[in-house]
Symmetry: C2
Subunit: 512 residues, 2 copies
């Protein structure tokens, strides 16, 4: 989910100055329109420690005319607050119509911290998140514009940032700093879940990479301006159709303010396609990994745990040959490969997920999907077979579906096999000339190739919305087929080994 | 929530025969239209044991052309099912477009039974209900018409029904029968919560009183026919605006098929207004109760528990004088009376619940609302100050609000002080002639009186939607003011006594 926010974005000083001034002016104009409207604006500022949330607050307070802006930091509860239902403190801070309330810490803080520190369990957090969704929906329908920002830092950058902060300004150090840094992973996976469950049409989350401070503030500002513009233009229709208004992606909005100056980097750009393997290394590693996988598949069978693998990737990326290297290692009784083509009549007569539910493996078995339910947000999106509201909705539906799988104990491995455009061209041409491969290349492949950029956007959004702690996407460096196969086998073995180790730990072998 | 379903409805044999035949024909016609549509129909049949769910299934299977209808009873999970995620069994049974699936037992069974038998906690159930809401929303947007029936029996009627069933047809007795009957109360309060949380615009619940079998089947049939008609007429707009379509109330729908023959009884009709108290009894009981309340209020203060009382009722029903009998008993430092009039400017600039959140009492204190947030679903509904989607939404919002209170440990007592129209007329006239009371009667009171029936409907719906196990409505028999005051004081003392006893049990007094 945070993959896209970990990509480096750099903004030059000049560009920042220019764009910042423009945003400042637009915020002031919009604030005046807000004053005259029946709407209020709630800005929630959250994210990992060290992302500079305090600086974001300063920026917001510089942009707004502060007369109608209140900033609320929710830290310890006061006596007055403890003696009342927990949401009382938030209700007393809600901005009136025409005004702005900036929340530093919010109703999200407690459920996330409690679960991360294991003071509550997942069901408790979900119950709280359901309350939050109800609150936000209620306020939103009543005319509140709710803008939720999550500022993200990769782990190593957080560490560096916190250390340098600690040196420079000892005074501003949060007392929780040590806890946060230590438990980065657990906080992040809990936050990811909280964001996913509360990423609703009425109050969507905006995840912003905070590595470059200039980019961070411009991204925040351009999303703020865009959201306010749409909400205020929409004023007349308010309440009539409170459904999600799928506008541009955050990415597009930020790019617009930067006039294309900053690089519009995608998650796929983070894959190092130059990686390759020598034949000798490949042969050795492949054999070792296949032997390992063979044993692990039997271990999983004995443990009654099942596994689902999903293979997606560019045409010609080598999904099929990679799958064959996987299945070659597994006993034929234990796996099934399901190639996903156009749906049958019967499948078309049901919800699009129905065909995938049908094929869920029994305990101890492995199902390999050659293409999958992600077609909904890839080919169906790009080709227009699914409408925008439909494929936007699918992210949540797919996450829910995969959660049903993982709750049952299924291990889910998802691979996007990546190659670049030149490599694809090389492979297409060789297919055309090699009589044994000609059946593999069709006009459709050439047509799809023309939509490269659209697919790139779709993959970026797919990874952002559906890569979760339990069901991560693995982006495979596929220009070198050998490297790709080893990367895939390694990933599968690592995931399975972790499961087998965990099972052994929880059920120690009985003494004979 | 089940109050309205406990009212006796009787249908004559002749009326039943005629209406049943009409429904049968309409179902067949609608089924043909369904076949030609892109929609499917899912009927969920649930309710208390003994309500005749099996008979309802028989009726449905008689009405439908069974070629495109499948009935699924979900009982024990098969081996195949246990080895897959829990929802797999439901997905395999989902009807295709054009077809009907009747679910006897469903995704609701396990979460309700688990919580009732204490195999799970409330947060677990809520997590499951969130999954159910997601599933139903997904299916509904995809074109499934989801019809959820809950068949209800009052406790004493269930007991009688189960006993007579056990005698007549020993073979059909469910093995769980004994459990269900024994734990009626706990099942009912858990079911109430499940229904409340999943009563969504896209898949609302229909609660049907099952005491009279003829009424039960006609009510079920008329709601089925009405829902199908609307959904099929709506086919073109499908998916475009999946918001709730607030049509007529179930009550109106059923009344239409009965052509006004059956009594359209309301919950208020169940109040026995003939109850009264002699002066001597009144004086004695009032004094005793006030003394008791005085002590209980101090007990609550010491326990740091607070209380909220809500008084609603007809104009002239005696709310004010009843409140004075309550406050007379409580130390002035411990309570506050909040009369709710038209909202201030500041209040209008916020969500309608904001003004009530402001006034939540601190620990150990009592707040008495003379009129309340229920104005939203009473006067604002009847006068058209709130739109239908707005006040329909409020039931859920109010339930959530009161759950915030009860989760914090607040005791919530809600009174509707009831009188009949004749009694109101008598009181209005006496106010007009008595100079000390003239200020109490305005033109508005006379205008409101003309809307008696609309208010009656609003009160009926209010009680149905917002009377929950933790926050029940007490309908006060107000024709005799003395009786009403004693009933109110008694109710308050009983609730507080139960809380004080429970607290003492959980924290036994320390030995000195």
């Amino acid at each position: 989910m945070f993959e896209a926010a970990e990509i480096d974005h750099k903004v030059s000083k000049e560009k920042f100055k220019e764009a910042e001034m423009e945003l400042h002016q637009r915020v002031l104009t919009l604030q005046q329109r807000l004053r005259e409207s029946s709407k209020s604006l709630i800005i929630i500022v959250s994210g990992v420690e060290g992302a500079g949330k305090g600086e974001v607050l300063d920026r917001l307070n510089r942009w707004f005319d502060t007369r109608d802006v209140e900033t609320h930091a929710f830290f310890d509860e006061t006596d007055e607050e403890i003696q009342r239902p927990r949401y009382w403190r938030f209700w007393r801070c809600l901005p009136a119509r025409g005004k702005v309330g900036i929340m530093f810490g919010s109703w999200y803080t407690k459920p996330i911290v409690d679960l991360a520190l294991k003071k509550s369990d997942e069901a408790d957090m979900d119950q709280e998140l359901t309350r939050i969704n109800a609150l936000e929906q209620m306020l939103s329908i009543d005319g509140s514009i709710i803008l939720k920002f999550w500022f993200h830092l990769p782990k190593h950058k957080q560490k560096r940032r916190l250390e340098s902060e600690a040196e420079i300004k000892k005074l501003k150090k949060s007392p929780l700093l040590k806890d946060f840094s230590k438990s980065y992973d657990s906080f992040l996976s809990v936050s990811e879940r909280a964001i996913r469950v509360t990423d609703t049409g009425l109050a969507p989350w905006h995840i912003i990479g905070a590595t470059d401070m200039k980019y961070r503030d411009l991204a925040m500002g351009s999303i703020l301006v865009k959201t306010l513009e749409e909400a205020l233009a929409d004023e007349e229709a308010a309440g009539a159709n409170p459904a999600a208004n799928p506008g541009e992606s955050d990415d597009d909005i930020v790019a617009a303010i930067l006039n294309g100056e900053a690089n519009r980097a995608r998650v796929l750009d983070s894959v190092d396609l130059s990686q390759q393997l020598e034949d000798k290394d490949y042969d050795e590693q492949l054999l070792a990994l296949q032997e390992k996988l063979h044993g692990l598949a039997w271990d999983m069978f004995k443990l009654r745990r099942n596994m689902v693998m999903v293979f997606e990737g560019w045409d010609g990326a080598g999904k099929g040959s990679a799958i064959r290297r996987v299945t070659a290692a597994i006993d034929a009784r234990l796996y099934q490969v399901i190639p996903i083509a156009a749906p049958t009549d019967e499948e078309l007569a049901h919800h699009y997920l129905w065909r995938f539910w049908r094929q869920i493996p029994r305990s101890g078995h492995i199902t390999i999907y050659d293409r999958s339910w992600y077609g909904r947000v890839l080919v169906e999106r790009v080709e227009g077979f699914a409408s925008k509201p439909q494929w936007l909705r699918s992210y949540q539906e797919i996450n829910d579906f995969e959660e049903h799988l993982t709750n049952h104990g299924t291990v889910v491995c998802k691979f996007w096999v990546h190659i670049d455009q030149e490599e694809q061209l090389r492979r297409f041409k060789s297919r055309e000339t090699d009589p044994r491969k000609q059946h593999k290349i069709t006009d459709e492949d050439w047509r799809n190739r023309e939509k490269w950029q659209k697919y790139e956007e779709a993959v970026n959004d797919m990874v952002t919305h559906t890569s979760t702690a339990n069901t991560p996407w693995t982006l495979v460096a596929g220009n070198d087929k050998k490297f790709a196969r080893v990367q895939i086998l390694e990933t599968i073995c690592d995931r399975l080994q972790a499961v087998v180790d965990a099972e052994k730990e929880s059920k120690p072998a009985k003494a004979d």
